[in-house]
């Protein structure tokens, strides 16, 4: 009876330890603790070029993450990228004339959407589109323009 009991206790402790390790991996190591709980609302925006923006890229305002990119599609009539983002439910006061930019974190970092609030008293609601957008700055294009300008000056 004693030995059986010991085995049961150690197996129980082992299973608890394993589950704790999994929980640790999920909460402390992975991004699960930051994942939005699924509620929130959607906004869309059209960009003429999204660079290397990806699904799940952050959407920030004043540098604080307030949502994520949920899907990226292509508008075949206007030849533009259609980005759908999910904004956290608590952030329900984004002005209608908000500006959406695609920024890059660091020189070679990942790209994210930065929202700059406008001054309109009306707020964006679920399914609305952000009209003012600024595309991603492509490093290659910038270098190309810079070289082109230099060549023009010297010639």
């Amino acid at each position: 009876m004693g030995k059986r009991h010991t085995i049961e206790v150690t197996v129980g402790a082992f299973v608890v330890l394993g589950v704790v390790a999994l929980f640790f991996l999920a909460m402390q190591v992975s991004n699960l603790s930051q994942a939005s709980s699924g509620d929130g609302y959607h906004l869309t925006a059209r960009f003429s070029n999204i660079g290397s923006l990806k699904v799940r890229s952050p959407v920030t305002m004043a540098g604080v993450r307030i949502g994520r990119v949920e899907s990226i599609g292509f508008d075949k009539t206007r030849y533009e990228a259609l980005v759908t983002m999910r904004i956290d439910a608590g952030i329900d006061s984004i002005p209608e004339d908000t500006f959406a930019n695609i920024f890059t974190a660091g020189l070679l970092g990942e790209q994210y959407i930065g929202l700059e609030p406008g001054g309109s008293p009306d707020f964006l609601r679920d399914g609305d589109e952000i009209a003012n957008t600024q595309s991603a700055l492509l490093l290659e294009q910038m270098i190309g323009q810079f070289l082109f300008k230099k060549a023009g000056e010297s010639g």
């Binding site: 150690t10 197996v11 082992f14 394993g18 390790a21 999994l22 991996l25 992975s30 991004n31």
Partner: protein
């Protein structure tokens, strides 16, 4: 006589196919005997103890050292690019995706798989399995099925413990000894390691490895030549085959999970 070389080849292939067939029949018999495990959960607990609890020490210590080595090596390489802050991502991603499931599986194959093979093999050599059958007790249901499920349950838990201890080992070396920033270690890790993509896939991997290892170990024991030499050979083969199977499966799973 003239075709001796072909005959040898053919015999080898036929023998291998025959063993493969027997192994699958055994697996189906074990799965069919799953009910016994539910009816006597104590049998399962004992096997989780044998495979899981007894492997805990070696898995934990190995995880700690693997994590510490990753911390050291990762730091030396990343510091050259001024990216030592990314150490957390490197340690966590390599542990959760690859090293955790694979190394823990190799350790379990050596520590517990070999013991399973030797145990079953000796039971067969000393005709205990035949004795059980005489008493109308099905050895597959009573002996093999609990061991199979014990291994399958214990493996993902051991792999998770390995990864968790490894991340802490990397933290100890990277942050404690080499001076990487504490906050950067964790938040870079959290920003880049994905729950679905990395952790869940790692658990799926270790589940598959658990099935593979215990299946190989049980089959080698059950199919052994009932002599002391036969048991020793089966034990060796059990470790070699399960190690190769784990590494091969790991490649396939990685290609499937992280390829797209």
């Amino acid at each position: 006589m003239r075709f001796e070389a072909f005959a040898v080849l053919g015999r080898g292939v036929l023998g291998a196919l025959e063993r493969l067939g027997r192994a699958h029949l055994l697996l189906f018999a074990i799965l069919a005997g799953s009910g016994e495990v539910l009816r006597h959960p104590r049998l399962l607990f004992e096997q989780i103890y044998n495979v899981g609890v007894l492997s805990l020490l070696i898995v934990g210590v190995s995880g700690l050292f693997v994590g510490m080595v990753l911390g050291l090596q990762g730091y030396y390489v990343l510091a050259q690019f001024g990216a030592a802050e990314s150490l957390g991502i490197m340690v966590a991603a390599s542990l959760v995706r690859e090293l955790g499931p694979v190394v823990a599986a190799l350790l379990v194959a050596g520590r517990a798989g070999s013991a399973l093979t030797a145990e079953i093999g000796l039971m067969k050599a000393t005709e205990q399995l035949a004795g059980l059958e005489m008493m109308a007790v099905d050895p597959i249901r009573r002996i093999l099925a609990p061991r199979f499920y014990g291994g399958v349950v214990a493996m993902p838990l051991l792999a998770a413990i390995f990864s968790a201890v490894g991340v802490l080992g990397g933290y100890f070396v990277g942050v404690g000894l080499l001076g990487v920033d504490d906050g950067a270690y964790w938040n870079q890790m959290q920003a880049k390691v994905d729950f679905q993509e990395d952790i869940v896939n790692g658990v799926i991997k270790s589940l598959v490895f658990g099935v593979a290892i215990t299946w190989v170990a049980l089959f080698q024991g059950y199919d052994t030549v009932p002599t002391s030499e036969g048991v020793s050979r089966s034990t060796t083969r059990s470790v070699v085959h399960s190690a190769l199977l784990v590494l091969g499966l790991d490649f396939v799973l990685t290609a499937l999970m992280f390829g797209g």
